[in-house]
Amino acid sequence: MRVKKAGNNIERDFKLVFQELKENPYRKFNLAFSLMSVIPLLVFLYILAAKLFTFHILVGNIGLIILICILISVCGFCLGYSIIKNALNRVIFYAIKAKRSDELKSTFVASVSHELKNPLSVIKTNLFNLMEGLLGKIEDEQKKAIQLLYGVVERMGRLINELLDLHKIEAGLIGLTRKLCNLPQILEGQVKELEGVLNKKQVKLAKEILSKDLFVWADEDRLQQVVNNLLSNAIKYTPEGGSVTLRAYFIEGFVRLEFIDSAESIPQDKIEKIFDKFQRLDAAKEGTGLGLAITRDIVESHKGKIWVEPLIGKGNKFIVVLPCDLRSSKR
């Protein structure tokens, strides 16, 4: 069943490529194989018939017909060979083009990284020196302005990282290093990391791990990123003193993760767009508007699904469903 599904996907992908190329190379392949195999087969059948019915094969009209058939089959073979060679050349050409395009994308990422982050480091370092009074005494008003700039630089740094991340995921430049990940451990780690923000906002966190041995076959760093993004989002949009629930359990061969906040429910017209790039519910809240887009891409690259359900009254439930590890589902 799974194989058939994979086959269907490949067929669908090929159809898309053919549409883009405005031709179907299979047509040429079929023609080439007809020319190369069907005609010699006819000759063979003719010779077989001649042997069986004992008529002289290389004499008179029959001999002429055989010679013409042999000539046609040789021409067919040559033509077929040239068509297949051309088709293969085109395949190789597109493969090289795709490889070059991937290389260009990698170079682009590396260049952006270097060219943007280095000057940003210089700005940040010097702002820090100014702020700390290491380059001379500054007044309170000046310090406030520098602190503001420092915050902007920090946000730019985050934005560059997230843009690069998103670009890498979308361009398929990130190789997932999958291993058996212990989900409760990952959740615990991320909760600890966000403890400071939780305490600062006095948000109560309820952790509900409802199944034992929750394992996922995933890239651990990326899975941590998903949990971190969704949990920090839930905390960010929950008002002070509110509550956030983190729930994880098995369901029919999948691991289901729920992040329930007590923020304002997301309006229906924004539900569809919430995972798009640069979509922010509240512009006043700090963020780049890329976190959810990255999260969705990571989840989908693990063959999972993510969606949000606004709760009646108040709150939202972000749901992530990931295929669980086969070894753990047998337990």
């Binding site: 590396a110 990284s113 270097h114 982050k117 280095n118 940003l120 480091s121 210089v122 700005i123 940040k124 370092t125 010097n126 820090f128 020196n129 700390e132 290491l134 380059l135 630089v153 920090e154 740094g157 990282n161 690069l164 991340d165 760093d221």
Partner: protein, 127 residues
């Protein structure tokens, strides 16, 4: 009164502006700062100057950061100097490689100056 000799930190980075910024806050912590703008000069400084710690960029002219790190770790004179990698690259693989080659810390640009100061102090036992 104890007469403490200031510890020497060598910064190997191709960006002079960044070196100046780093030098300002590290000098304020009482360290002596040496610098090199390329890999080969960085290696020679590390051998000559008896430095206590090295802050190393990975993208460098005249020998990249890994070449420098490899050279430092293979030399008896410099293999015990703690190295902090400071890079703009996000590649996880580079981080793993740096640790495998003997770096003791790995920080990504744009870094938090306070975190770098804390790491320097930790590696030099100045906390």
């Amino acid at each position: 009164m104890e007469n403490k000799v200031a510890k020497k930190i060598l910064i190997i980075d191709d960006q002079q502006e960044l070196i100046s910024g780093l030098a300002t806050f590290l000098k304020a912590q009482g360290y002596v700062i040496l610098s090199a703008n390329d890999g080969l000069y960085g290696i020679s400084q590390a051998h000559k100057e008896n430095v206590d710690l090295i802050i190393l960029d990975l993208s460098l002219p005249a020998g990249g950061g890994f070449y420098v790190l490899d050279n430092l770790k293979k030399s008896v004179t410099t293999n015990n100097i703690p190295v902090i990698i400071l890079t703009a690259s996000q590649e996880k693989a580079l981080e793993e490689k740096a640790y495998q080659m003997g770096a003791l810390a790995y920080m990504r640009k744009p870094f938090e100056p306070k975190e770098l100061i804390a790491k320097v102090k930790e590696l030099l036992g100045d906390q």
